[in-house]
């Protein structure tokens, strides 16, 4: 018979259309969890007043923890992003028996690479007593390991016990720090705090190990993901650097202090900022608990209808519904978060007074609240974009946030104390606006993205 015949059965039964997205639920938990923990922890530390420990010793402890959270989040970014992605793929392809191998492999890579950074820093650069050096290194590695364990727990279990674990562990950490600090000053504070973190890590790991086969297969398989998803890895680094870059730059402000141990800090800025970050907790909760779930449902339905041979009319309805759900979610978040943020800005003097925080920080706090408001919205849009696998656009937005936060913070430094925090606030507004533009240009094009641009079957 002349003619080519058809190999169409294969063509029509491809399942890779939007396949990865199904493994993505709890995206918001994964990406906002560590940030939330950091915010709570550092805001808590900022408010810590210990009568038994001298002011200087407490400050050194605070600065060490601050440094560790900040740098650990940034340098862990790429490994966390890749481990999350690989784990999602394992869940989606029902190969969770390789989860333990991945956990071991990524933990080894994470801690192995960070020892090379943190040990020279504390033993070579900082001038501290040896026990403090050791405890500081341990603290850094504990924090990094917790980020990773958190990813696994949130991806493998869709429950919220992880939040309770964090809260309890953090309570223990702060209490133990105060208790031990009474006897051994900085080293005691740090040891107590490490104890609390170790408890969190232990609880998280125990939960994972208990539920998954202790089989060490495919330990290094995730390394291949670095090549394939380099944009995700880069995004992990860039986004976390963007969050911190304004704080690092503030170390060059005239108000910044270099401690005898050679670590620099700008405590006014930092404590005001972390207090400001606390104001976005409601919208993170709203997003994680409600908006993301609604969005995920309509998105999944959209994909399922396509796969189940729906005509275009049904796909068009679903596409519209995705837009409606996002708009409704945005409306809810804007309303509640707008209320919380406005109140925080209006009542700032009274609030700071209540917490006994210096008046100098009032302006920074207000700008911080404004920035955090838009920062949260920006983060939610990034999460939405990641569902649609728009990695190129996501990375561009993350780079924009990093660059604008750095540039505008430098600019604000030159304008004097009244402008501190304006860089971050403006960068957040700018990045949110750009992300909004990308998202709302995307929405009507979602089917084109799904069928053509994100269709793995078309990538030769």
């Amino acid at each position: 018979m002349a003619g080519l015949g058809f190999a169409l059965r294969k063509l029509l039964h491809r399942d890779d259309l939007g396949g990865a997205a199904a493994g993505c639920l709890r995206c918001a938990m994964v990406s906002s969890g560590p940030w939330l923990l950091t915010v709570l922890c550092l805001a808590g530390l900022g408010a810590l007043r210990a009568h038994s420990v001298s002011r200087d010793e407490l400050t050194v402890f605070q600065i060490i923890v601050y440094y560790n959270f900040s740098f650990s989040l940034v340098v862990s970014g790429p490994v966390l992003a890749i481990a999350t992605r690989h784990l999602s793929d394992l869940v989606f392809t029902r190969r969770t028996d390789e989860a333990m191998g991945l956990l071991l492999g990524s933990l080894l890579l994470l801690l192995g690479s960070q020892v090379l950074i943190v040990v020279p820093f504390y033993f070579g650069f900082a001038e501290l007593a040896t026990p403090i050096r050791v405890l500081a290194c341990v603290n850094f590695l504990l924090v990094s390991a917790i980020w990773l364990a958190h990813v696994f727990l949130v991806t493998l279990h869709n429950d919220r016990s992880v939040t309770a674990t964090f809260a309890a562990g953090l309570g223990v950490a702060l209490a133990a720090a105060l208790a031990l600090g009474r006897f051994h000053a900085t080293a005691g504070l740090l040891a107590g705090f490490d104890l609390g973190l170790a408890l969190i890590l232990y609880a998280l790991l125990a939960r994972i190990v208990a539920d998954y086969p202790r089989r060490d297969t495919g330990r290094w398989a995730f390394l291949a993901c670095f090549r394939r998803h380099w944009r995700l890895a880069a995004g992990g680094l860039v986004y976390n650097a963007a969050i911190w870059v304004d704080k690092w730059l503030m170390w060059t402000a005239p108000e910044a202090v270099q401690q005898p141990c050679r670590l620099v800090s700008c405590l006014h800025y930092d404590s005001a900022m972390f207090l400001a970050y606390l104001t976005i907790v409601p919208s993170i909760a709203l997003f994680v608990l409600s908006v993301e779930t609604d969005f995920y449902e309509v998105y999944l339905r959209y994909l399922r209808d396509i796969r189940e041979h729906a005509p275009w009319s049904a796909i068009a309805v679903n596409t519209r519904r995705i837009g409606e759900v996002l708009l409704a979610g945005a409306g809810r978040i804007l309303l509640w978060q707008g209320l919380v943020s406005s109140l925080a800005i209006l009542l700032a003097p009274r609030l700071l007074d209540l917490l006994g925080i210096a008046f100098v920080e009032l302006g920074i706090f207000r700008l911080g609240v404004l920035g955090a408001f838009f920062h949260a919205l920006f983060m939610f849009l990034l999460i939405v974009l990641s569902y649609f696998e728009l990695h190129r656009e996501t990375l561009a937005l993350q780079l924009l946030f990093l660059a604008s936060n750095a540039a505008l913070t430098l600019w604000s430094l030159g304008q004097g104390v009244a402008w501190y925090g304006a860089g971050y606030a403006l960068a957040s507004v700018l990045s949110f606006a750009a992300a909004g533009l990308v998202t709302f240009r995307l929405l009507p094009n979602v089917p084109y993205e799904t069928f053509v641009r994100r269709n793995a079957a078309l990538q030769r």
Binding site: A2, G3, L4, F6, E308, P311, W312, Y448, V452
Partner: protein
Amino acid sequence: MTAPGPSPAPVDVCLLLEGTYPYTPGGVSSWVHDLVGGLAPLTFHVVSLLPGTTVPARNYTLPANIAGLSHVFVRSLPEGPRRIRHADRLFAALAEPMARIQEDGGLRDIAAVSLALEPHRRRIGSRMLLNSRPAWDLLHSMYHAAYASNSFLDYFWAWRCLQEGLFSVMLAPLPPARVYHTVSTGFAGLLAARARIETGRPALVTEHGIYTNERRVEIAMANWLHEAPPDGTDPGTRSGSLADFWIRTFVSYSRACYEACDPIVTLFEGNQRLQAEDGAPPGRLRVIPNGVDVSRYADLAAARRPHPPTIALIGRIVPIKDIKTFLHACARLRKSVPGLRAWLLGSESEDPDYAAECRDMVRHLGLEDTVTFHGQVRLDDHLAEIDVLVLTSISEAQPLAILEAGAAGIPIVATDVGSCRDLILGHRSESPALGPGGTVTRLADPAATARGAERLLTDPAWRDACSLAIRRRVGLHYDQRAIERRYRDLYAELIARPSQPGVPDPEEAR
């Protein structure tokens, strides 16, 4: 794709072949091989249209008068640039003809597509034509115009598959030639249509099986096509099924080919009705049957050896040959013909699952000692020991196996498909009537097949009469030398025609 040199001298005939010669063995490939070899002073260029991305292994040694061989991969456009100038203009020009092609298009639409692509040839590729935003909008407008109640996913893939083929053919380099000869409609027929429009040189088509008909069978057998649109569709929309989308598109391709080609040749009269239905102008239709080297097979007939009673089916082990009916017939026949041998002579590689099912059936029916799978063999080695040739095919054109066996004086039992009836019983115009050369049966009727073979194996007088009749019929009407002369004359006539670029006038049929 083998790019042609700067200005190569035109060959006499450019043959356009879809998925056959010199790669896939079978009736069409053998026909091409023998025809080209027999017309030696004429020079040929072969364009082979292939699925996939690689050139398969050759099954034929090219005769010396094939001056060139090039390939068009219809499932893989080059990527090309992401952006081009005037993309909006290109897609505006493509929209109307492509929308007509998916319903009832023809040569004018193919000409319009070719013209629209002309400025972009050699650069444009899948990124622009299939994956770009304007391409997506084009797909959309075509879906809504005619197939809006179907699964969008299925339409999407079908659209890509069909348009990738269309664009590959429209963008393929055309070797210069005096005559373009396509051996099917479909994508090869499209290329012939394009050649006719662009070069103005005459094009002709020789159809063995009717392409659109084969596609209809294929699509009817394909259970993956979601015929019933899901609920929730607007009953007011005008919408064909996806099977319609496939078939109407291929009919448009065929119509374009018929409108471009003169003459439109087929192997036997029965095909002409189907060609006319798909839009072939009746004035251009001609019959030129297959031929065989009659003298060679006559020699083979003389070398018959003593052997047990033997029937044989010559053909690939595929569903369209209905091998299972043959096996059922063998089971019946064995009871009345002791010591029966039944041979299957044909490749099993095309559909391994079906071949395995057939082998299972042989075991179930207890035919292990009767039926032998010989695989693809040299027919000459076996003809001397075959008493009856059996064909149980569901579809055939003009089976070469009947001509070869007939030339060797082997009587035939075959299903009433293609031109089998004319070959075995003689065309109604045959004069003097030569008598039957065997038996014609209904489709899928193992009892009738067994009866026909039994009579030929057990009634020597009947056998001899059939043997003589079939040998004389093949010798008179299907002699390769005579067929070659007809093609030689046809080519000479076409080569002498003046060039007439552009779409030919449909009324000009002579």
